[in-house]
Amino acid sequence: MKQYISQLGIFGHEPLFGSILPVGQINLPDEDRFREMFHGIFQRRYYTNHGMLAVELEDSLCRLFGTRNALVMTNATICLSLICKALGLPTGGKVIVPAFTFAATVQALTWAGLEPVFCDVDPASHCLTGDLVASLANGEGVCAILGVHLWGNACDVSGLQHVAAEYGLKIFFDAAHAIGCTLDGEPIGGFGACEAFSFHATKILNSAEGGCVSTNNDELAEKLRNLRSSYGRRERVETSIDGYGRFSEAQAALGLISLEDFPKNCESNRKKIKLYSEGLASVPGIRILSPTPREMHNYQYMVLEIEESTFGLSRDELVHVLKAENIHARRYFVPGMHRCVPYNKQFPQFVEALPITDSLCSKVMQLPSGQRVTEEHIGDICLLLRFIQEHAAAIKGIL
């Protein structure tokens, strides 16, 4: 461990870790299990078009979500765009959405011919609330609310549903982070018209790339099946446009292996989050965004807010210092979607309208997590963060 600030990587000293510790789960499958599953695919010679592994994965996901339907698709961005068409949201319609989210949430709306109405978020949960959404729900052309369960913590579902009901809006959720999480004990997956999950490699359940839509609405599910492909649909249903969201047997194989590993990976994540939380508890200027208590959680993200005035360094300075130690912490979300092209040009009214989002965008970061990060790594990272905070003034002076 470092004893003098001159030993920091940023001042030319060797990094704390010999290899890079990234953000994101990147949980690789067991190699033998991988070979076994792919051998089966080659034996069957069935490669895509809603094969038996895709069907098996969908059945397992229905059980996990407790929903009547789970539809696997190419990726979560495509899920969100196809949902907009399945819900019949009109071209040019407006959708209330947070700007404090990953780019995909908003970009998926744009490809579906919709406009975002950016809503600020709650500073504690980082998510939309009914009160925040209510002030925008009466706007001309608003047709839907897209809530995001950021970091696996449910947004204010009942508040949002209340507003949706009052104004006659459709409501659906970006649950990319939230597989295996609950709200009041109910699995995320069954809320709103439908919910979209991500199986990207950085997620706890991964199929390399992939995603899934869960819903209890059979009619909506059938529209989505038709939009995805003619394979796997149960009946032919007219939609305003055709789409493409097929999920291969290779993706399904990876998804099934990952689902087998899911309880083990959740438990491993839970231990790591606990270690981080204990190790950072008394460090001034660090706020840990904890998983919602008394709920099931996947614990896949270690999210911090850095308060520059008390920590002594800005979030960006800290990320810079950590990177030189091979700790590839990441800033979230930079920039906020309201300040991103093309939205900052198309909808300039939002650029200065989201103070909480702007504040979070300047102080939120994630620490490394997932398979590559060991409990020893976490101990060292916590000690290092404490060391950096204690010497923040000196470090800042040299920076």
């Binding site: 792919f38 990726n75 744009t110 991964n206 446009i241 092209v341």
Partner: protein, 396 residues
């Protein structure tokens, strides 16, 4: 079992000619060892997606195969087309000139890009797009010329390149069915602003799912590469509207394994084509021929029903499909009819109504072709009685 009486036909209670369906799809199965050798990289690089080493290797090899500076891979041919149309189309204009006899989602791809399809007729001789027809359709509102190669012959790409040059309207090609081919010795993939291919399991390169674009335009390739990954120019820097259309590393491993075996696949296709050519002789079914002076995959078996063939295209498909011969209609219904667009496209309507695609690819052997052809000869020999039964069945 060869059929001897009408009651041996599956339509009338006989056993199906094939126990397993015989598709028109490529479905090439690469050597498992080869696939696992490529896939090993996933475990060493710990990268499953996001422009990993296998995707980069695949893009380099595909660019070399097509003789272009760049190749960008995608999660599907659909997304490859959508992003290419979106990126290349002239801003501020709304129409895309395209054929109606093509991939059934093509018009909707154009609509996902916020543009309007403008359908043109095809060339009777090639069954492909016709530069003269495109010329008539170009207006001040034309954003893009979207050419498509038909599934056996080649479209007049040089005619369209000249039109693009003259009008300043960019040209891209959907060349999935022409992959590997040449025109005047120049490789498909190296024409137009960009050419787009699918790597769906049914196509020339089986990547489970996937697609790619080839181009000599470095700026265009870089832009497309950004658009398919959320528009990121660098970490935390988004430079334009993007989405997610990335190819993952497992699909890339599969594509690379298949790419190693293309000559083997083409050898098989050629044998199958030759078998059809011999075995269909004497039937009023016109097998559409490949140009033997150029490189071709020889994969697709298209027949056009001639005078003297008494069955309609749909009757033929019904008879064949009942026997597990999964023959398919040729781009039918064409898109203008599917979408209810009123436009006169007589050649498109005639060609699509009278053509069908017969089984080929990895699941079809030379013996299968002989059995299919024997069955077609049987159907033709008993045409009067079969037709009578079909008519009765229809009336009943």
């Amino acid at each position: 079992m060869p059929k001897t009486t009408l009651d041996d036909c599956a339509l009338w209670g006989g056993a199906k000619l094939f126990g397993e369906p015989k598709p028109t799809s490529g479905l090439h199965r690469p050597s498992e060892d080869r696939f696992f050798a490529y896939a090993q990289s996933i475990f060493s690089s710990r990268q499953l997606t996001n422009n990993g080493p296998l995707v980069r290797q695949l893009e380099t090899r595909l660019a070399a195969m097509h003789g272009t500076k760049r190749c960008v891979t995608f999660c599907s041919g659909f997304m490859a087309l959508l992003i290419t149309v979106h990126t290349v189309a002239l801003p501020g204009r709304s129409e895309v000139v395209m054929p109606s006899a093509t991939y059934r989602r093509m018009a909707d791809i154009v609509r996902w890009a916020g543009l309007t399809p403008c359908f043109t007729d095809i060339d009777e001789r090639t069954m492909g797009v016709d530069a003269a027809q495109y010329r008539q359709r170009v207006t001040d509102d034309t954003a893009l010329l979207l050419g498509v190669h038909p599934i056996v012959k080649m479209s007049d790409v040089t005619g369209l390149e000249a039109l693009s040059c003259e009008t300043g309207v960019p040209l891209i090609f959907d060349s999935v069915e022409a992959a590997y081919g040449t025109i005047g010795g120049k490789t498909i993939g190296s024409f137009a602003q960009a050419e787009v291919f699918s790597m769906h399991a049914s196509k020339f390169i089986n990547g489970f799912e996937g697609g790619y674009v080839t181009t000599d335009d470095e700026d265009l390739a870089s832009k497309i590469k950004r658009v398919e990954a959320f528009g990121f120019k660098a970490q935390d820097v988004i430079s334009e509207l993007g989405c997610n259309a990335k190819l993952n590393e497992v699909h890339a491993a599969m594509s690379l394994a298949c790419l190693d075996e293309i000559e083997e696949q083409i050898g098989h296709n050629r044998n199958i084509f030759d078998c059809y050519e011999k075995a269909l002789k004497g039937l009023p079914l016109d097998l559409v021929h490949y140009d033997t002076s150029e490189k071709r995959t020889w994969k697709n078996i298209v027949v056009r029903l001639q005078d003297g063939w008494v069955f309609s295209r749909d009757e033929l498909l019904m008879i064949l499909q009942s026997e597990n011969i999964l023959a398919r209609p040729y781009y039918s219904p064409p898109l203008h009819i599917k979408d209810g667009v009123v436009v006169s496209l007589p050649v498109t309507e005639a060609v699509t109504a009278s053509s069908c695609v017969l089984p080929s690819g990895a699941h079809v052997s030379e013996t299968d072709v002989a059995d299919i052809a024997t069955f077609l000869h049987f159907v033709h020999a008993h045409r009067k009685t079969i037709k009578a039964r079909l008519v009765q069945g229809t009336l009943a």
